[in-house]
């Protein structure tokens, strides 16, 4: 008897508070730079590199910023004390590619398209995950592009990833908004 009564009460409450469900879906806006820093770190988890990408098993992750640095200490703060697959993180910043050691992740911030294309072209066949903000980044041969509107979204170039011998996990694809596969751009959402 009481069980039934309870059920009724619960059902009534349900109907009363149904509008609240929609409101909770809005994600409060955060600092996009901070989000990007976190994303760079997470790529180490969701992307698989071939063993040749590291000099030895204890080599830390090399995350390199090529071009003007948007992060400041935000990136260091985000990576501080963290490891991924037993490797710690190291951040390198340079204006030109020559100034960088061998990196696993390269964040390209060149505004100049030509410079960007040249670097991407250079890195094309190497096991390096190239990340950038530019709208044509994927078509220029980049692997992952950050797209910032209400929030930071991902676009992934699976073709380039295959060329660079990188495997991008399906889970990451699930949360990305666009995937370039076999020359076709597919909207995920």
């Amino acid at each position: 008897m009481r069980t039934i009564l309870h059920s009724w009460v619960i059902a009534l409450l349900w109907m009363l508070y149904l509008p609240g469900l929609v409101a909770s879906q809005e994600l409060a806006l955060a600092n996009p730079t901070r989000v990007k820093a976190a994303f760079l770190r997470n790529f180490a988890h969701y992307v698989n590199w071939p063993a040749a990408a590291f000099t030895d098993s204890s080599t830390p992750w090399h995350i390199c910023i090529l071009g003007p640095d948007p992060f400041g200490d935000i990136l260091e703060t985000s990576l501080k004390g963290r490891t991924e697959q037993g490797r710690s993180f190291e951040v390198f910043r340079a204006e030109t590619l020559d100034q960088l050691p061998s990196c696993q992740i390269v964040f390209l911030t060149y505004k100049d398209d030509a410079r960007r294309r040249a670097v991407l072209d250079k890195l094309k066949n190497r096991p390096i995950l190239t990340v950038g903000d530019a709208p044509e980044f994927l078509h220029e041969g980049g692997t992952i592009r950050f797209q910032v509107d209400d929030r930071v979204r991902l676009s992934i170039n699976l073709d380039q990833a295959r060329v660079a011998a990188l495997t991008i996990q399906t889970r990451m694809l699930e949360v990305s908004s666009e995937v370039l596969d076999n020359g076709i751009v597919r909207k995920m959402r």
Partner: protein, 653 residues
């Protein structure tokens, strides 16, 4: 308080108590179990969801994808128990959420560490996600508590069944235990209150209670039996007490009267109501007499006896008999002699529980005794008078006999004297015939003289004053025999003299006795060629205990035992004077002397078979003992086996 309840209430108390206890304990246990397991049950439901969401939203969290996160969270809606769910990023932003109810506490609880938090109607699970961020799942406890309520309902139903069972148990207990006990109790109280042992308990079955009832009935029967016996005994006792001629008074150990029978009422003049429970026997006793008896008892028992009730109780207390005469004072003041005997009443342990006094009136007996005493005195006086008269008459007679004898002697002496003179003068002239007459006269005169002498002697024996003293019979016999020597010249005589004792008596008289007996023996053995005379004494013979018996035996002519009683009379003769001369006074003299010495005489014999004469002398003589208190105051007994030296018949010479 519990003790004053009836059995039924107590049983009910215990049963209901245990049921209630079981109810409370089980209910509390159940609730406690539900409360303790609530968290784990909630965890069992929520944890798989949390795990699933954590894995599913892994990438969504990593790349802050609210859509994907929301998709996965929304799968939880399928379970209506889940009220709300939310994924929060590390910077505090909510990545995805849904809620069925408004949960105000959600924001506050997001700061808490991982775990399950139970609220009153909801449980909340907080869990950190591997790629940062936290998951919060909130679930309603309604269904879990519904389970609990279901269990409680089941439990309640079980308890109702238990209560019903308890009610039935109570009814059974009431019928099988409480009612029989109640009826037993009721009967017991009835029996006790009315002392009526005819009640019986209805008994059925064979349980302990039935056995108890049977035993109780048997006990009642036994008690009734004993009660009847007691009643009969009491009636018997009452009848005895009421009708006994003796006064029977019972008292407590302290002396207070407890019962007083009608005979006592008649004897003492008090009624039982006047004395029972109030008075002690001191009421009807003379204080002086009691004090006197107390003194006697004190010296007799060696401890001080107070002159009070103890006078009667002292001896019975010590297990001694108490019976003596008292002078009782009746209520009207008159005094009654009565015999009182007191006995102690004792219980099984020997403790004194009281005393019983038995009193009988001695008034009549005293009167009778006084009468008897008076009659005796009168009789004695009469006897004394008669004896005095007889003694007087006897004395007169003896004096007469003596004076006659004495006076007869002088004419006889004259006759004899003048007859002698006549014979001398006429001797020449007298013819033979006349001479014979003269001799006959002379003989008769001489014989008459002897008769008179003997009579005088007999008379003297009766009157003579006795002087007692020790007499050596042996010496006396020798002396007597010596005296007879002239007469026995020419005869063959064998004397057998046994050892004879020293006796107490009059020497002269005893000499007369022995002289007469020896003279007799010699006289009646004249015809024998050889004479055997035996003198001795006999050891104790029947009929003559404490007497010395002396005998003189001869082998003479003897006598016919038919005339034995005539032997000791005066002038009694068994043989004619022609055969044996004599006056017939000798044995009479012997009898008289022995009698005066307190002994007896008798004889045995047969014709031509000899004769034996016995006389006895008392060995002790109290009247003499006072006169001469020496070693010779008693006759010695006869020396053993010395009396007979030889048989007369075996003597040959």
């Amino acid at each position: 308080m519990f003790r004053h309840l009836s059995i039924h209430k107590r049983l009910a108390f215990v049963l209901w108590g245990s049921v209630l206890l079981a109810f409370v304990a089980a209910g509390a246990g159940l609730l406690l179990y539900q409360a303790l397991t609530l968290e784990s049950r909630a965890r069992q439901i929520m944890e798989p969801y949390a795990q699933m969401v954590a894995v599913g939203t892994d990438a969504a969290v990593a790349f802050a994808d609210p859509l994907r996160a929301q998709e996965i969270l929304d799968t939880l809606r399928a379970n209506p128990q889940i009220l709300a769910a939310e994924i929060t990023l590390d910077d505090g932003r909510s990545l995805a959420s849904f809620s069925n109810v408004l949960d105000a506490r959600a924001q506050q609880q997001s700061e808490k560490p991982d775990g399950i938090y139970l609220g009153s109607d909801a449980a909340q699970l907080l869990q950190g996600l591997p790629k940062g961020g936290r998951l919060r799942i909130s679930m309603s406890l309604a269904q879990l508590s519904a389970q609990t309520h279901q269990a409680m309902w089941m439990f309640g139903a079980g308890m109702l069944v238990l209560l019903a069972a308890t009610l039935i148990q109570m009814a059974v207990l009431r019928r099988t235990i409480v009612r029989p006990i109640a009826s037993l109790t009721e009967t017991t109280e009835l029996v006790r209150a009315r002392a009526d042992y005819t009640h019986r308990i209805p008994v059925s079955g064979a349980g302990e209670l039935a056995r108890l009832g049977q035993s109780f009935n048997a006990m009642l029967e036994g008690i009734q039996q004993r009660e009847d016996d007691l009643r009969r005994l009491a009636a018997f006792q009452r009848t005895i007490l009421a009708n006994a001629a003796y006064s029977i008074i019972s008292v407590t150990p302290e002396g207070i009267v407890t019962s007083f029978n009608p005979a006592a009422e008649r004897l003492l003049g008090y009624t039982a109501d006047e004395v029972a429970g109030k008075q002690t026997p001191a009421l009807w006793h003379d204080p002086q007499e009691m004090a006197q008896h107390a003194r006697v008892l004190s010296s007799e028992l060696g401890e001080t006896i107070a002159p009070g009730f103890e006078v009667f109780a002292a001896r019975p207390r010590r297990g001694l008999t108490e019976e003596r005469e008292w002078i009782f004072t009746r209520k009207d003041g008159t005094r009654v002699p009565a015999n009182l005997s007191v006995t102690a009443l004792r219980d099984e342990g020997g403790n004194i529980t009281g005393f019983v006094g038995l009193i009988y009136d001695l008034t009549e007996r005293k009167q009778v005794e006084a009468e008897i005493h008076q009659l005796n005195q009168e009789l004695e006086q009469r006897v004394a008078e008669r004896t005095a008269q007889l003694t007087e008459a006897n004395k007169e007679l003896e004096a007469f006999a003596y004076s006659v004898s004495h006076d007869l002697r002088s004419p006889l002496r004259h006759i004899d004297g003048f007859l002698g003179l006549l014979k001398e003068q006429l001797a020449a002239t007298l013819d033979a015939q006349s001479q014979h007459y003269m001799d006959t006269i002379s003989k008769s005169v001489k014989r008459m003289g002897e008769l008179i002498d003997d009579l005088l002697s007999f008379s003297r024996m009766g009157r003579q004053e006795m002087t007692r003293g020790p007499v050596d019979l042996g010496a006396l016999v020798e002396d007597v025999i010596h005296e007879f020597e002239p007469e026995t010249k020419g005869r063959v005589i064998h004397w057998h003299i046994g050892e004879l004792p020293v006796v107490v008596g009059d020497y002269a008289m005893l000499r007369v006795v022995l002289a007469n007996l020896v003279s007799n023996a010699l006289k009646f053995t004249q015809t024998r060629e050889q004479t055997a005379i035996e003198i001795g004494c006999l050891p104790d013979t029947s009929g003559h205990e404490n007497e010395t018996v002396v005998f003189v035996r001869d082998n003479g002519v003897g006598f016919d035992m038919r005339y034995a009683n005539k032997l000791f009379g005066v002038f009694e003769r068994l043989h004619s004077g022609k055969d044996f001369e004599g006056t017939g006074i000798g044995l009479a003299n012997v009898h008289r002397v022995v009698s005066r010495n307190g002994g007896t005489t008798w004889a045995e014999g047969k014709v031509n078979g000899g004769a034996t004469f016995f006389f006895s002398l008392p060995r002790e003589n109290p009247s003499v003992a006072r006169i001469a208190p020496s070693k010779a105051t008693a006759s010695q007994p006869c020396p053993l086996n010395e009396g007979l030296i030889a048989q007369v018949g075996s003597e040959t010479e």
